[in-house]
């Protein structure tokens, strides 16, 4: 079902945790709420679940208004038919795997036969069918995470909410579970909103990313490609890895003049003569290539091995440029190299 959040506001005393945010999660879409700690993403998720009472705005699911303080509307959590997967697994130790997953169905007074069928379906979906009678205390971290997901989807909720569910897992398991969550979500086709502070997690999972800034506002929303390659603010650029930032002055219409020369870039949105910052990603620096514009020469000062790629630090005047690409025998420490950056790969911002 389609979920709508319109002008949502949540305050704690005088602190505004969520400040007038709006977004839509389309039916069956996997939406990620991404942002640094304290940006209000969890508050937003909890407000959608009914675990927080918003101070303003409207939350809808399908045609139903879940909360709207101006109309004094607030549907309690237990009546919203949402699935919530929490950060801590919260797999109840006094119940077996089967009973943990069956709990929401028992609460809803489903007949025993139906409970058996539905629980086994989701256990099979997550590969836990052989663990049905195991006490939940005897499960590994990954199995507990799966039980957590099973319990949230077994009653076929209208909306599935995840609050950083992979934080407690080790790196390998986290990677594995990411794909598993994505697979389960696409299998069952539930509209999903997933909170994380991990940019790679958001990029792997999401159809749509909503990036929130520390002020509790939405910085940018769109696909992973949009946010990575077309950041519309320095915050978004930095959050998605950042890289080199160089200060300069807008030299209309050519581009931005910096200490190491002119960067040809679209400056149509900037005022001539104004201060500006340019930024680009390390993988946009093409060593050994040459284009019509944005060609430089610099000395390789340092090389780091990153596994599948290498990171090169190239000094141009007083500025160090970070580049990332596969190892090339021609690039050695101390050598002078040429490099090129496509104008489309350069972002421009006004300084704060």
């Amino acid at each position: 079902m389609k979920v709508g959040v319109k002008n949502l506001v949540k305050r704690y005393g005088e602190t505004t945790a969520v400040d007038d945010i709006s977004f839509v999660a389309e039916d069956g879409e996997f939406t990620t709420l991404l942002g640094p700690s304290g940006c209000g993403k969890t508050t937003t998720l909890r407000s959608i679940a009914g675990l927080e009472r918003p101070d303003g705005g409207q939350i809808t699911i399908g045609d139903t208004v879940l909360s709207d303080p101006s109309e004094n509307t607030f549907i309690p959590t237990q009546e919203r038919n949402v699935g919530f997967v929490f950060q801590n697994f919260n797999v109840w130790p006094h119940l077996t795997v089967f009973e943990n997953v069956a709990y929401p169905l028992r609460v809803r007074n489903h007949p025993e036969g139906e409970i058996e069928e539905k629980v086994m379906n989701v256990l099979e979906l997550t590969g836990l069918e052989d663990f049905r009678d195991r006490p939940s205390t005897q499960l590994s971290g990954g199995q507990q995470a799966r039980v957590n997901v099973c319990r949230a989807i077994v009653y076929e909720p209208d909306l599935l909410l995840f609050d950083e569910p992979l934080t407690g897992l080790d790196r390998n398991l986290r990677h594995q579970m990411r794909y598993e969550i994505k697979r389960i979500q696409s299998d069952v086709g539930i509209t999903t909103i997933y909170v994380t502070h991990s940019q790679p997690e958001a990029m792997t999972l999401a159809d749509k990313i909503i990036l929130m800034n520390p002020d509790g506002k939405i910085a940018q929303q769109g696909t992973a490609d949009d946010l990575y390659y077309k950041p519309d603010s320095k915050f978004v650029f930095d959050f998605f890895g950042g890289s080199v930032e160089i200060e300069g002055t807008v030299a209309n219409p050519e581009g931005i003049q910096t200490d190491i020369g002119l960067f040809s870039v679209d400056v149509s949105t900037l005022d001539a003569g104004a201060s500006a910052i340019i930024g680009f990603r390390p993988e946009s620096v093409q060593i050994g290539k040459e284009g019509t514009v944005n060609n430089w020469k610099g000395e390789v000062k340092d090389i780091n091995f990153l596994g599948s790629t290498y990171e090169y630090f190239i000094d141009v005047g007083d500025i160090t440029i970070r580049a990332r690409q596969p190892r090339s025998g021609d690039i050695q420490e101390g050598r002078t190299v040429n490099f090129h950056i496509e104008p489309d790969d350069i972002f421009t911002y006004r300084p704060f």
Binding site: L51, R53, F84, N90, L95, V107
Partner: protein, 586 residues
């Protein structure tokens, strides 16, 4: 007011408020409100209000207000002074004895015995003997014709007893010895949490252990000593059992005995005077409780500096001799506080007749048979008392724990309206002596049909049960956290279903521990039923006190063995859980 920095807060630090309009929330709110109204608000309020009523019980629903009962108290200043002075001497002496024994035992256990779980357990076991039962033992041992008294007289060829158990010193000895486990319980973590660096810095500076104890350890644990002192002092000041048995026959009255044996006794019986005296007593205990809270906050500040639980204490080189000394100290305490009094009542209960005999062939269960057959001397209501005790002993801890779990649930998980006030009200009985609370219930219910039934005891015992229950509920819910309930809510369950199906099973051990603590406390309690029982609503503790005061030693010791057996097993299980680390934070 500074606002929280939400960037540095975990979500659990925020308080959530679910929806006050839900049916479950209203049910929880009302259940807690009416429970607290009946168990605490009405009795406490009525003591104060009716102490100003010109007459009590109220006739025809009309009464005027007067200060007459207070002026009476202060006109008889010598009586008030005597009761207060006796109470202070008794409480101070018993507290001093208890804290000395408790602190030394705690020090030995931490520094020389490596926190030995068994030593801790041995120190705590004697508290499982109800003081009313232990008193029977002490009367048998140290009374005017006590076994030990006569033995000492014979050995030293004395013509009279070298001590007088029925005196304020006897009261101090008995109460002090039996309060020592509580002092140990409170002092142990204080000494345990002193980081090794404290001792080591002192040793490095050239001080020896005695100097280190005097100038470092003692000042560092002083806030804990002070708060323990105040806690024990307030607790002892208004105890009923020991002063009733050892003080009242010699007309030594204290706060615990003044109401039942002066104001509500004899021809001058006056509820109004008992009520105004209760208010006077509450005022005094409140002052000490406020000092106690202040001392506790100083203790907390020290804990912050010391970093409780973060580092190991410094253990001292422990030779066999030093360990032996420590074990001897604890062993001697166990013998004095546990084995001697219990051995005496057990022995006496197995020997028919007045004289203690060492002839094993005379041992029989005759006293027990007589008691259960209804033929024992001095009691007509034993079986009823046993039934009533079991009834309240089983039901009160159960309902008490449920109500306190609900209060903690309302406050810590749901953040229901007024929940902080509820938590405060549930702790109010701590500041009010049991005998005064009993007076409160008497004043509320004396003119209702439930007076004289076991039901009034059932309600009144909740004044004991709720503060104990809160001690177990609050840390348990902190441990479980709110997310488990949120998962349940998101699964579609309401607040009550979540409480029943998820929360209670998750905190079942805390529930059982709190249940046992309440049970052990309720079945031995004298201060509540002493003013509320009538024919039909007797309990064992009261029957035992009555036969003991009347001098039926055999019956008393038989009852004492039974009440000890009822109490000791859950007490030992509870203390085992505690010392083995299963009940952190209580």
């Amino acid at each position: 007011m500074s606002m929280p920095d939400i960037n540095n807060l975990s979500w659990n630090e925020f308080k959530y408020r679910y929806i006050p309009e839900t049916r479950d929330q209203r049910i929880i709110l009302l259940s807690i409100f009416f429970s607290l109204l009946i168990v605490i608000i009405l009795p406490v309020g009525s003591i104060i209000v009716f102490s100003f009523a010109d007459s009590f019980p109220i006739m025809d629903g009309e009464f005027g207000f007067t200060l007459r009962h207070y002026t009476y108290l202060f006109e008889n200043l010598s009586l008030l002074y005597e009761i207060t002075l006796n109470s202070f001497i008794y409480a101070a002496g018993a507290t001093f004895l208890a804290i000395t024994v408790g602190t030394f035992a705690a020090f030995f256990t931490v520094k020389y015995l490596n926190d030995s779980m068994w030593v801790q357990l041995l120190m705590l076991i004697p508290y499982g003997i109800p003081s009313v039962a232990a008193l029977v033992g002490w009367v048998i041992l140290l009374g005017d014709v006590g076994v030990l008294t006569e033995a000492v007289m014979a050995v030293f060829n004395l013509s009279s007893s070298p001590w007088d158990l029925r005196s304020i010193w006897g009261m101090i000895f008995v109460e002090g010895v039996h309060t020592a486990p509580i002092a140990f319980l409170l002092m142990f973590p204080a000494i345990r949490n002193i980081p090794a660096a404290m001792d080591e810095a002192s040793f490095t500076a050239g001080a020896n252990r005695i100097r280190t104890f005097r100038q470092i350890i003692l000042p560092v644990v002083w806030p804990s000593v002070l708060s323990t002192l105040l806690f024990l002092f307030v607790r002892t000041m208004a105890t009923v059992t020991t002063p009733a048995v050892l003080g009242v026959p010699e007309r030594i009255f204290t706060f615990g005995t003044a109401i039942p044996y002066i104001f509500l006794s004899g021809a001058d019986l006056s509820y109004s005077k008992a009520l105004s005296f209760s208010v006077f007593m509450i005022a005094i205990t409140t002052v000490f409780i406020l000092y106690y809270l202040k001392a506790q906050s100083a203790e907390d500040q020290f804990t912050t500096v010391l970093g409780a639980g973060r580092s190991e204490p410094r253990r001292y080189d422990s030779t066999i001799l030093k360990q032996g000394l420590g074990i001897t100290f604890v062993g001697a305490y166990l013998v004095i506080a546990g084995l001697l009094p219990f051995g005496a009542i057990l022995w006496d209960s197995l020997v028919p007749g007045i004289m203690m005999s060492t002839d094993l062939s005379q041992f029989s269960l005759q006293n027990y048979i007589a008691l259960f057959a209804g033929n024992a001397q001095g009691t007509f209501a034993w079986r009823r008392a046993l039934w009533n005790t079991i009834l309240v002993g089983v039901i009160v801890p159960t309902t008490g724990m449920i109500i306190s779990m609900l209060i903690a649930y309302a406050n810590q998980i749901i953040d229901i309206a007024f929940s902080k006030t509820f938590v405060f009200i549930a702790s109010v009985p701590l500041a009010i002596p049991g005998i005064a609370r009993s007076m409160g219930f008497l004043s509320v219910f004396i003119q209702t049909p439930i007076y004289g039934t076991w039901f009034i005891l059932f309600i009144a015992y909740h004044g004991i049960a709720l503060p104990i229950g809160m001690r177990y509920s609050s840390p348990a819910l902190t441990r479980v956290g709110s997310e488990n309930v949120e998962v349940s809510l998101a699964s579609g369950a309401g607040l009550i279903r979540s409480f029943r199906s998820i929360l209670l099973p998750l905190i079942s051990k805390d529930f059982v521990a709190g249940w046992m603590h309440t049970y052990v406390t309720v079945i031995r309690n004298v201060s509540i039923p002493i003013l509320l029982y009538t024919a039909g609503s007797e309990v064992i503790a009261i029957e035992l006190l009555t036969v003991l005061r009347a001098g039926y030693a055999n019956t008393a010791s038989t009852m004492a063995v039974i009440i000890t057996l009822l109490s000791i097993l859950p007490h030992i299980v509870l203390q085992y859980w505690r010392v083995s680390g299963g009940l952190r934070g209580r």
